[in-house]
Symmetry: C2
Subunit: 342 residues, 2 copies
Amino acid sequence: MTAGGQDNRDKAQRVTMATVGRIAGVSQVTVSRALSDPSKVAPGTLRRIRAAVDATGFVPNALAGALASRRSHLVSALVPSIANLTYAAMIHAFGSSLRDAGYQMLLSETGASPEAEEHAVRLHLSRRPDAMMLTGVTHSAGARRALIGADIPVVELWDISESPVDFCVGFSHAEAGRAAAEFAVAQGYRRAAVIYADDERARRRKAAFASRFAALTGAEVADSPLHGAASLGAGRAGLSALLDGPGLGGGGVVFCSSDVAAQGALAEAQARGLSVPRDVAVIGFGDQDFAVDTVPPLTTVRVDRERLGRLAAQQLLARIEGTGTTETKYDLGFELIARASA
Amino acid sequence: MTAGGQDNRDKAQRVTMATVGRIAGVSQVTVSRALSDPSKVAPGTLRRIRAAVDATGFVPNALAGALASRRSHLVSALVPSIANLTYAAMIHAFGSSLRDAGYQMLLSETGASPEAEEHAVRLHLSRRPDAMMLTGVTHSAGARRALIGADIPVVELWDISESPVDFCVGFSHAEAGRAAAEFAVAQGYRRAAVIYADDERARRRKAAFASRFAALTGAEVADSPLHGAASLGAGRAGLSALLDGPGLGGGGVVFCSSDVAAQGALAEAQARGLSVPRDVAVIGFGDQDFAVDTVPPLTTVRVDRERLGRLAAQQLLARIEGTGTTETKYDLGFELIARASA
DNA sequence: GTGAAAGCGCTAACAT
DNA sequence: ATGTTAGCGCTTTCAC
């Protein structure tokens, strides 16, 4: 009745591998082996150890394990925002792939600024992740230096670059903008405008769209920058400004930097009693799951976010295991999906 | 030229506090002190240490620090899905509050099953978080046991219970359903239906709505369960099934388990040329940012997700520091927002 | 198949 | 103000 009751009065007595071993009648190392590679331990021993684990509710200390083995089984992921639907499916796929391989994702938001990102990079590196994922290809010099010094695989996701820190998985945002412009012209539109979020990649798509559209038609492209994140309301306001201004007087097509903004444009048109695409046409970006169900269904640029996330994770894992390639750029492209809104 | 060049041929030479100390001419502990509490170190020493840190690109090893101090400055967060907008703002607020206090959030998705959650709980506990956040109040017995054994503060968010593992921050889903029913009846609706996602809390809101509406009007409430996650398409399909079935023949009001589903119902009504709320009225749930911008603006149940997330983080942090209360339930309530859709 | 010893890079006492 | 000594709870290496 007093068994072992002597020294658990202070703090909750910590259960370690040594505790489990004592109960199972083996040493601490054997417990370690039983948990990490059961085949290295005799069946009977294994049974006793497992019983002791259950009896004590032992939870291994991954901190100590990582410190000793220099493998944390942690992969860092830095994204501008987790509330942004644009990245959600990609992060989900990335995280799932990691989990399937026995890794955990340490996710943080960095906002839009490179300085905040650099701070987050350092913070994450202090946890000794086995690899890191960054969004986009623009990073501060300090962040690049820290990353290189960490000597771990690093993937830059959602964009491509000729000089990644390590390797990148994404697509060309400029090409996507150009493709949208070419589609718009092919559809017969001769007036165009852009509604875009305040985001570096969105600006690149916008610039490419505008210059390509102008080159093809000679028409200048009006634009309406969104303040803050893309949202239904921001999209509505964007189209509203365009419609009330000189840019889109006689109708035309509006290229939006996200499907959410495009959905807002659709709502604004609906509220004004305008017919889409007759009075104003809308092209989105991203092909979110809802794009097919809007009224009318949204013409948009599809990016396979699941595949981006999965490939990034796979390549990272391969490099962690040392079986990776030396490829530095994976361009997964995009696809223009013509539905009814443009 | 050959300075220190002797033993960095194998793997990248690890920079530790000892390395930094050697360069700065102090011992390893002094480096530790300089970094954790600069006031404990002489100004000159501090300068030399900082110079050495910069020169070497030293990044502290938080694994070792956590192991030695038994404080990881890590807080676990388990949510059903990160792609679900319902939780996004709450997680964001939760994570931001933690970051401001010097903690990092270790976020994982658990899906809907308690078994998957239990597995995630164990995995997270192995990282020795200083606290943990769980979504909802339904957990497996094993998960509860592990959590209690871990002896850390645990908050259950987004719902309330009389017997939380530690404490909970949320609101009553049943009351929210009842409030929606009362509002619907007060608006004069005598026929109602529910579109709901396959989620325990959504089912509770639906059941409470249905029984209250029936009690008040004598009318039975039809329902349309969504398969899988709520989405625009699922909401459209939900209303479609209701409209084509017997349940909502002569019009009435539809209570949706999320604003996204409600937005889908709006889209379906629009596609069918139905007027909202005249032909069919719609009540959402959540008051997402877009609810005010739909056409017509969405009548919905507001839940202050930011406040939920912030309060959960604050209480967790207070308990970590030992300054917390022993309160076990924070009911933050909800508010019915009457706009134009019902 | 199992154990003993060393050490991962820090922090927490306790000196001085 | 700074250093010394002991761990934290594991994995790795080498013995047996």
